[in-house]
């Protein structure tokens, strides 16, 4: 092999190696624009179902999508929801003048609703009847009135005489609640979002929304009225005062029957405790007992967030129109399996500019006196490791470079000695 051939080979190997190393980072480019939409996720007793996730990404030259943007209700296996009419989920990305942008919308609506495409950032469902979601069943029959102070000094036989019908009465009332179902009525629930390279925004709206208990014994007890356009991260507070009123009404009816119990007044006479006084104390006890037990129910029965928003970056947003959970803490009051339901989830961004360093536009420098709030507070310029190790081609190229250089050096050295 001639020395010139060695030198030329070395130069070619070096150039090839450098070219391969330079091309490496470009092969792992992040999307320029991205968005996703999920109409519904539901988990009951750990058995989950969902409408699937539709995603759109743009690499700067073309959009790629995955999933379906026409989910079918019948595809929701094992769900107990009723009257669920239309699912909608769509996402889109575009790149204009080198800048990525994205939009998404998703939601559910009753029969007759029409799904429309994402992109205008306003809506993806039109029309439709009200949906009724049978969210869970509630069993309040664990409430007890035992160990009440009012009966502490009453003889056991008298206690039995009184508590028999009282307990039966409470049980009757609570049974009368009849395992009322927890229902969520929804006209339409949807979330939309849009994002550019520098910002992201979105909203959620809920038409004709309400949450209520309903059973054969109590009829309908409204718990929550859902706002049409909830502010971001609106927490819904459950109001169970209607349950307490219903229980007290039933107790009044049952206590009224005590007056006809033979011998009861005579049994209470030695205690100077009239029947009416006792009934009042018992009612107070029931209220006292039920109230504190309803408080945690109120706090834990539902964890309902509307227009749930999070921002993983300043130019990215995730929105869920309705996030409903029957949380584990309510298990002692709720004779139902844990339920988690999300309706209308969308993500938009983060988006970027198409990598073109030479053509990338630059903003004008800030003017003197610009506010401190527009200044950086951190520089994240540390990397643990290179994104990927050298490829076999790179290793081969570098090896060739070293060998060629060494060979050239030897040739040059010998040539110099011969001179």
């Amino acid at each position: 092999m001639s020395s010139s051939l060695v030198v030329r080979t070395g130069a070619v190997v070096a150039a090839t190696s450098l070219a391969l190393m330079a091309a490496g980072p470009a092969l792992a480019a992040e999307p320029v624009a991205q968005a996703s939409a999920t109409a519904l996720t539901l988990s009951v007793a750990g058995n989950g179902t969902d409408s699937g996730r539709f995603t759109a990404t743009h690499d700067g030259s073309a959009e790629t999508t995955s999933g379906t943007n026409s989910p079918a209700v019948t595809a929701l296996g094992g769900q107990t929801l009723t009257n669920l009419g239309t699912l909608a989920q769509d996402a889109t990305t575009t790149v204009a003048s080198g800048a990525g942008s994205s939009a998404a919308c998703s939601g559910v609506a009753g029969e007759g609703a029409t799904a429309v495409q994402a992109g205008d950032g306003t809506s993806c469902l039109v029309g439709g009847r009200t949906i009724t979601l049978d969210a869970a069943n509630v069993d309040l029959t664990n409430l007890e009135v035992a160990d009440d102070d009012a009966l502490r000094n009453v003889a056991p036989e008298v206690t039995s005489l009184i508590l028999g019908p009282v307990s039966d009465g409470i049980r009757t009332v609570l049974d009368g609640l009849g395992n009322p179902g927890l229902y969520v009525d929804l006209g339409a629930v949807q979330a939309v979002c849009t994002a550019t390279t520098s910002s992201a925004q979105g909203s959620a709206n809920i038409a004709n929304g309400a949450v209520y208990l309903q059973g054969p014994g109590v009829g309908r007890i409204d718990l929550v009225d859902l706002p049409l356009n909830p502010a971001p991260n609106t927490k819904v507070v459950t109001d169970l005062s209607g349950v307490l009123t219903t229980v007290q009404t039933g107790l009044d009816r049952e206590f009224a029957a005590l007056s006809s119990v033979p011998g009861l007044d005579a049994a209470l006479a030695p205690l100077n405790l009239g029947l009416n006084t006792l009934v009042d104390q018992l009612k107070a006890n029931v209220t006292d007992a039920l109230g504190p037990q309803l408080a945690p129910v109120e706090q834990n029965l539902l964890d309902l967030t509307l227009n749930k928003q999070s921002r993983p970056a300043s130019n990215a947003v995730e929105i869920t129109a309705l996030d409903l959970r029957v949380v584990p803490a309510a298990a002692q009051y709720v004779d139902a399996d844990l339920l988690a339901l999300t309706l209308g989830t969308v993500t938009c961004g983060p988006n970027a500019r198409v990598a073109a360093p030479a053509a990338a536009p630059a903003q004008q420098p800030m003017v003197a006196g610009a506010g401190a709030s527009s200044l950086p507070l951190a520089v994240t310029s540390g990397v643990e490791d290179l994104d990927s190790g050298p490829s076999p081609f790179t290793i081969a190229g570098l090896t060739g470079l070293v060998l060629a250089g060494t060979a050239a050096g030897v040739v040059g050295f010998r040539r110099s000695l011969r001179q």
Binding site: S381, G382, L386, L401
Partner: protein, 212 residues
């Protein structure tokens, strides 16, 4: 006993000269290979460090395209980057550095030109050796309008919290008189980088003999 025939002085000098030339050639080749450049380039290793007194000219503001740190033998492309959530994140390509596009352009009389580049724990990134810069070291930033030369005036290492506290000093555009601020990370603890290296350099102007 007879020793080897004495060699004439001119002959010894000629042989010594050949060895010197041969050794120099081999060393040049080795330097060329280690520099990662073309083998042919090894024959073009520059000569001594003599540096003529430079003459500087004014340079109008221009977008930075490339940065040179001669004492570290580092040259890196410069690309514009934006602040996100009050954080500057250099380009993903660790061989590039990022110019904060809301900071002054090289050549601006006001403000500060902020450039940041990655440090990679395992080495190889554009600003891995930034902390080796010392006062009086030169830094060249090539713009679309020419080369702006700076001289390093200060190298500091700041904790993340201290950097945030000094945000106005380091990033504020109401000060600086066109100085250059270079930033990277340092102090890897096995999980995170705990501190930043910040280099301040004042502008000298466009060297008359600089080639863009």
């Amino acid at each position: 006993m007879t020793g080897p025939a004495p060699t004439s002085t001119p002959g010894r000098l000629a042989r010594l000269g050949r060895y010197v030339v041969a050794t120099a050639t081999a060393l040049q080749l080795l330097v060329g290979v280690l520099a990662g450049g073309s083998v042919l380039g090894s024959f073009l290793v520059p000569g001594g460090p003599s540096r003529p007194t430079p003459q500087y000219q004014a340079l109008g503001p221009g977008d930075p395209l490339r940065i040179r740190l001669p004492t570290l033998e580092v040259t890196a492309p410069v690309v514009p980057i934006a602040m996100a959530e009050r954080t500057l994140d250099p380009p993903r390509d660790y061989r590039e550095v990022g110019w904060w596009n809301a900071s002054a352009k090289p050549g601006d009389a006001q403000g500060q030109t902020v450039i940041t580049g990655h440090t990679v724990h395992t080495g190889g990134a554009s600003m891995n050796r930034l902390g080796e810069l010392r006062r009086s070291d030169l830094v060249d930033v090539v713009t679309e309008r020419g080369t702006m030369r700076y001289v390093v005036t200060q190298v500091v290492v700041l904790s993340k919290s201290r950097l945030a506290e000094r945000s106005q000093d380091i990033f504020g555009q109401d000060r600086g008189r066109g100085r250059l601020v270079l930033i990277t990370c340092t102090d890897w603890n096995g999980h995170d980088y705990l501190r930043n290296i910040v280099v301040f350099a004042k502008p000298l102007g466009a060297p008359a003999d600089a080639a863009a």
